[in-house]
Amino acid sequence: MNNLINITIDGKKFQVHEGKNLVDAAKENGVYIPTLCHFHEVNPPLGTCRICTVIVNGKTTTSCTTKVYEGMKVEINTPELLNTRKAIIEMLFAEGNHFCPSCEKSGHCDMQNLSYDMGITNTRFPHVYSNKVIDFTSDRMIMESNRCILCKRCVEEIKTNDGKNVFSFVSRGVKTRVRIDYNEEAKLTDSQAMHAMNLCPVGAILIKGMIYEQPFGNRKYDIVGKDKDVHVIDRFKKRQDENKFIVATTSLAGCFGCHMSLLDIDTEILDVLEIVEFNKSPLTDIKKFSKRCDVGLIEGGCANSENIEVLKEFRKKCDILIGFGECAIMGGIPAMRNFVPLKECLEEAYINGLTSEIGANIIPNHEDIPKLLNNVYPCNEIVKIDYFIPGCPPSAKHIWKVIKNILLNEEYSIAHEEFKYD
């Protein structure tokens, strides 16, 4: 175990202890390999998330399951591998129902942190929005399957004192879920239960009453992180003339919060107006496009037929479309209705809701009222979106920085604190 051996990581030579797994060996030498299902006590490694996929002597494998040996050649940060890792996280976002702004675990979430770290602004995969169960049955625990990434940590690690599993996978394939055994869960001590919540890399296992013990802003991942460089897409030709850039904005199924945030740069808006002219936008109250625009800013996802029409029109009339805010990118809070039948949503809103008048029995409808869609869709599932500015809402500074840099065709970097969904 104490024998030192030589390995090469991305062309650099290192001496590491024999028999260690690659993740730990690399870490000891200051080389970071992203992991999600892996945690330091686990043995044997789980190997379920596949984030730590690397190339060892020409073959792809996961580093958590690989032990170092003499002469090993490891590639970690090839463009292809970086892309694969990003894609796996994006798959998890598309498969599950992750709404960071409303998640209790935000700031404590390993997956959220990894995504910030990798600079993920959106997922390349269409969202599945499958209806998953939130299980409140147990007295102490909540199992939030919408967020579960099936890493298997709890299944392997959390056992009762007599060695029985509290969690288990059930079913298989895309229907696989983690479920709780209520009887066994009741046998856990409070500290064992807390361990389960803290072990969960996302917000799937929650202990009632203990969720907000640590306030937002003070959490594990709230301050750490790296700044990100963003590469400009060639799609946009820099203007030669003296004319101002023309910008249009709209709010689809959103709360207008992103537009409010847009105005939050205070007097700097005067500088912005030096180079920018607004066309169709709630800010100008111009209802129809009067000319072709350089940039269209989209807040909110698509919840009804009008949203779809507006979005398509924006795509046709603008050279560059930027989705800003969680709702435009992931569907956001409005998309949480995707798991409730539409009829129930309407009845709750107009008939059974607390604020409805007694005896209300009408769901308003008219040919002039837009029709609700079966689901709320993120904008990039309807049209091509060129850039994404995450945040709920993104800060004013951040939004304008991105837009300026896009208009001026410059590469730019985003500070970690600006780059957030929550």
Binding site: P44, P45, L46, G47, T48, C49, R50, T53, T60, T62, T65, E80, T84, A87, I88, M91, L92, E95, R124, F125, P126, V128, I149, L150, T160, G163, K164, N165, V166, F167, S168, F169, V170, S171, R172, G173, V174, K175, T176, R179, I180, D181, N183, E184, S305, I308, R315, L342, K343, L346, I363, N365, K371, L373, N374, N375, E381, I382, V383, K384
Partner: protein
């Protein structure tokens, strides 16, 4: 706590579950309570095991449980009509149970009867070559109380071809009990392994790992107990050669396992038989008994002091991934059939943590034949890298579906001629995890010669050039050989394949579980002609990611078909594409507002 005793006891879990499933037609909460306390595991862990396997049910599956095969070959025969006939006769849709709990009707993936489709299993009795009128007859007879046994069709072996030249047939020839095994008297362990190594025998399930090497590793690992497992979980769609072997020569398999046991020092052997082949179990059991009686199994076999070997049968319960050796071992241990991380190979720590050899039926059957005919004679057959013969299971659009024993090295076009295939558009070689072959490949030979490293893939700009470059490159298959003529639609075949992987992924790793599911959606998009060129690029990218990062062979090979189909049949994809556009054409506004319209309509009409 997992102790040796509890682990050993746990291995009987699957049998217990099978007994209850058979008797009561499902496993109830009450049964689960009893079993979980008996095995000292939590209810949820037990439910995890039960729900992993397709053939275990948590609600009543009917006195007669019908599983209709829905795989591609069946689809191309009478699947739709047969399904309709079942539905009409039973008055239920597929996936349901009749109200009187007499019949349950479910679909299942390939059941190893591709040469006699459409086929179904009723309480695991096979019914082949189904037609609507046959279905009608079966159901009415069952209702009248006829026995399943009297109605079922014992599948034909359909052995269509063996090498014509004298002495070149290895498997399908006269079998004399014990002839191969008796050669052991003159050989020690090292000599047996040496012989297997020299024969260049390699894993015939499709992975082609050198068998001699595997045995050597297992032998070299010191242990008080070692195991031989025969992988008879022939789950690759379109394969059924092991079915024929098991039916014709169960003795040959037992001899093969016994020889393996002798070579590595194992005393226990298990045949992991897929549930779909339950109809073969009696015959194998009978043969095991005979062998025991004749002193070819048991203690001091052939009078060799200390040479003890037992063979038992372990029934699978419907999970394709259990064909993967580590998943198979997990399944035998009474767990969910999830592949391990390969931190240890089975030859190091396998079944119950002991060194274990897992070999395919065909591999094990080849061993006694090699001993019997002598290494020199064996090496004269086939090609240099792959001596001997290979069994192929041929199905689809040809005159003579069935099992073919061919000498390695036969040209693909010659083989196609043997099968009587006409107007062949493509061949799906090596099953759903294999590759699509088109005319440009028909000059290649079926052998292990000049195999391409996986990452080398010639570009396909000029089919003639491609064909010339590839003509020297050999082709290996675990056995599945599906032929499709020019009328078949490639995209719908691909749809069937991706659907299969969505259902059969064990669900434990992200790329395989989610990636295949998302790819399936992409295929739908292509089928509906909503896709554009970007979608094709995305399919390639996603497939490569799945291949690169999946945990086991299932995920790593699940996109092979799709990638090779895109390479060789670009036209089939092109014709479904739309012009490139910044707007996603698959989004249908009218369809997305259908629910809303119907709600409003319902409310409006209630006012009147």
């Amino acid at each position: 706590m997992v102790t040796k005793e509890t682990a050993t006891k746990r291995t009987t879990l699957m049998n217990v579950l099978w007994d209850i499933q058979r008797k009561r037609r499902f496993i109830s909460r009450d049964d689960m309570k009893k079993i979980s306390s008996e095995f000292n595991i939590s209810m949820i862990e037990l439910e995890g095991v039960i729900s992993f396997y397709h053939f275990f049910h948590l609600s009543d599956a009917g006195k007669y449980t019908i599983y209709l095969n829905c795989s591609t070959i069946s689809q191309h025969k009478d699947y739709q009509d047969v399904k309709k006939a079942f539905q009409d006769e039973l008055g239920i849709l597929i996936g349901n149970v009749t109200q009187d709990k007499l019949f349950g009707f479910f679909k299942t993936s390939c059941i190893g009867l591709s040469d006699q489709e459409s086929s179904a299993l009723i309480n695991f009795y096979p019914f082949t070559n189904l037609t609507p009128s046959k279905v009608k007859n079966i159901i009415s007879k069952l209702k009248q109380g006829h026995s399943l046994e009297s109605l079922s069709d014992f599948p034909k072996d359909n052995i269509q071809y063996t090498p014509k030249e004298e002495g070149k047939t290895i498997f399908f020839k006269k079998y004399n009990k014990g002839e191969g095994l008796k050669k052991l008297i003159a050989l020690n362990q090292v000599e047996v392994i040496d012989l297997v190594k020299k024969s260049k025998l390699s894993g015939r399930g499709g992975a082609f790992f050198p068998t001699g090497m595997k045995w050597q590793f297992c032998k070299d690992n010191e242990s008080d107990q070692k195991y031989i497992i025969c992988n008879a979980d022939e789950g690759e769609p379109g394969t059924f050669k092991d079915r024929a072997l098991l039916n014709q020569y169960p003795g040959l398999l037992i001899e093969g396992m016994t020889i393996a046991g002798y070579a590595v020092g194992a005393t226990e052997g298990t045949i992991y038989l897929r549930a779909e082949y339950l109809f073969l179990k009696n015959k194998i059991e009978k043969t095991i008994k005979e062998f025991n009686k004749d002193g070819l199994l048991g203690k001091n076999i052939l009078g060799i002091e200390g040479f003890n070997f037992e063979v038992t049968i372990h029934m699978g319960a419907g999970a394709y991934v259990c064909g993967e050796e580590t998943a198979l071992i997990a399944s035998m241990e009474g767990k969910r059939g999830e592949p391990t991380t390969k931190e240890y190979f089975p030859v190091e720590k396998g079944y119950l943590g002991k060194p274990t050899v897992v070999n395919n039926v065909e591999t094990l059957c080849a061993v006694p034949r090699i001993l019997e005919m002598g290494l020199d004679n064996y090496l004269k057959i086939g090609t240099n890298a792959t001596p001997g013969t290979k069994l192929l299971s041929v199905s689809g659009d040809c005159d003579k579906p069935g099992v073919y024993e061919i000498e390695w090295g036969m040209k693909l076009k010659d083989f196609l001629k043997l099968t009587g295939a006409k107007d062949t558009q493509m061949v799906l070689f090596n099953g759903f995890s294999g590759e699509f072959l088109s005319e440009v490949d028909f000059d290649r030979e079926i052998s292990g010669e000049n195999l391409l490293a996986e990452h080398i893939q010639f570009t396909f700009e000029d089919p003639i050039e491609y064909s010339q470059k590839m003509s020297g490159v050999g082709l290996r298959s675990g056995g599945s050989f599906m032929i499709f003529n020019k009328e078949r639609d490639l995209i719908s075949i691909l749809k069937n394949i991706t659907k299969f992987f969505v259902a059969e992924s064990c669900g434990i790793c992200v790329p395989c579980r989610t990636g295949n599911f998302l790819l399936n959606k992409k295929i739908n998009k292509i089928m509906l002609c909503h896709a554009d060129k970007d979608d094709l690029d995305e399919i390639k990218e996603w497939s490569t990611i799945i291949k690169q990062s999946s945990r086991c062979g299932l995920g790593k090979t699940s996109t092979n078909c799709l990638l090779t189909a895109m390479l060789k049949f670009p036209g089939e994809f092109q014709k479904c594409l739309l012009a490139e556009s910044d707007i996603n054409q698959s989004f249908d506004l009218e369809k997305s507002t259908e629910i809303y319209d119907s709600i409003i309509h319902e409310i409006e009409s209630s006012y009147e």
